[in-house]
Amino acid sequence: MKPTIRFRYRKFKSVLLYALCGLSALLAVVPLVLIFYHTLSLGLSAINLDFFIELPKPVGETGGGLANAIVGTLILVGLGSLVSLPVGLMAGMYLSEHGNNPFGATVRFLTDVLNGVPSIVTGVVAYTLVVIPMKHFSAYAGGVALGILMIPTITRTTEEMLRIVPQSLREAALALGIPRWKTTFRIVLTTASGGVITGILLAVARAAGETAPLLFTALNNRFWQTDLSQPMASLTVFIYNYGVSPFSDWIAQAWAGALVLMTMILVLSMAVRIATRSRFGRGT
């Protein structure tokens, strides 16, 4: 019975492929689960109220927290977004809507190159641009470094997401006598907002997890500092400093810092998604 055998073979292939895909999907989330579990098990012990409201204690004293670093990370990433959001979004809109020319191709290529530049190099650039003229480390310099890092991700995802928007929607808007720029901002960008926001969140998450560019720019600070022209603490730099220290309570606090950082990004992603969810239960 030849057809039956062939049918069975086909069916077997289909099941096999399906199983392989499922397995790969599982493998893709395994590292995340492992990292989260590991961080949770090592960091949870150091998490208490003090961790969120106290400043780091001097060497030798136990206890204290990383309140300044938590706030510092928020400020630095906020500054980075302030730099990168307008530039990235508008560059992405330009590339998608008017970028089919040599200039657009050049910008696209250079953006991809910038995306591949090691983050420590970005830190050195921000050091040269901001720290040297100001003659000291500052939150501004850290914000510039993170901003430069975020720009290519935001630019390219914005471009890709806007390109997916069907041409017929642009035509519908233009045919109503809606000017080109309004069509881009109010119709095309809104239609693509789900994907664009995902790109922004990716960039924010990446910036929040960066250490190297901050070492040359915002440096670190063991005290409260809200003056943006002064060095500023960040969770990642604290994790780095505490993680390589010989003190077991500092190492535990480093794990706790990592846990808090991961949770912050998770909460931010979920909050933004809920806040910007399409009225019609789609998008995002």
């Binding site: 929607l169 035509e171 808007a173 233009l174 045919a175 109503l176 006598g177 809104t190 019609f280 998008g283």
Partner: protein, 266 residues
């Protein structure tokens, strides 16, 4: 509502209709391929001009060059002149041209992120009309004109793409009417509609003709015969024949036209 098919009396009411849109030797290109060859056509005020012809003969391209939508296709080009009330549309601001010349596309294209209400009012609100009562009135009026009001009046806040294909097309008609253009270009507005909605759209065209100038592309000969005052037959990018609808369908001057309208080819 006037039953459709009463073409002649309406014509007799307005013996001296002015040319509203005049196309002079229009050539349109997509890159190196030419889609229109020396098309010259005069569309009269307060009348319906039907454009017929086999698929790919340039009907949509011609319609889209009238409201300067052709030029937004990358690599496109056009020569010749198109006059709106005697003024060259290429000397005018494209946004103003499109405000005065509305368009209903061949495929329905509602804005997916907007509600039914917002779809209809999009042209108004983006054009700066802020008065909510005015907008609400225009939304209702436009949806009624497009024969969609009864079906959506209780679900104006639902997504525009939650409607069926035919309903979406009527939504797009309402959206085009809401900005009250002077000229309305319709590219096969009824191709996705059932006979009842089609009849409603034809009635609408009949109504609109009193104030608007309408150009309609259609593959449906009966529809062209019912709604239009004049008919243009396009073939392979050229205007073959242009005359009163009655003449085109009863005694066309060209053999090609006769073959097409009698269904012998196309």
């Amino acid at each position: 509502m006037t039953p459709h098919g009463r073409v002649e009396p309406a014509q007799a009411d307005h013996p001296a209709r002015q040319p509203r849109i005049v196309a002079e030797k229009v050539n349109a290109y997509f890159g190196t391929t030419q889609a229109l060859y020396d098309v010259s056509l005069t569309m009269l005020d307060r009348s319906v001009t039907a454009i017929i012809g086999p698929s790919g003969c340039g009907k949509s391209t011609f319609l889209r060059s009238i409201n300067r939508m052709h030029e937004i296709v990358p690599g496109s080009r056009m020569t010749g002149r198109i006059l709106l009330d005697g003024e060259d549309i290429h000397a005018m601001d494209a946004v103003l041209v499109r405000k005065r010349i509305g368009m209903v596309f061949q495929k329905p294209n509602p804005f997916p992120t907007m509600s039914i209400r917002d779809n209809v009012s999009a042209g108004l609100t983006f054009g700066g009309v802020r008065n909510r009562t005015v907008v609400a009135e225009i939304v209702e009026k436009s949806l009624r004109q497009a024969a969609l009001w009864d079906e959506v009046k209780d679900s104006l806040d639902n997504s525009g793409v939650s409607l069926s294909g035919g309903q979406q097309q009527r939504l797009c008609i309402a959206r085009a009417l809401a900005v009250s253009p002077e000229v309305l270009l319709m590219d096969e507005p009824a191709s996705a509609l059932d006979p009842i909605s089609t009849a409603k759209i034809e009635e609408l065209i009949y109504e609109l003709k009193r104030t608007y100038t309408i150009v309609i592309v259609t593959h449906n000969m009966q529809q062209a015969a019912r709604v239009s005052d004049q008919t243009a037959f396009f073939y392979m990018g050229r205007l073959v024949e242009f005359d009163d609808t009655k003449k085109i369908f009863t005694a066309p001057a060209k053999k090609q036209t006769e073959d097409y309208v009698t269904g012998r080819f196309g």
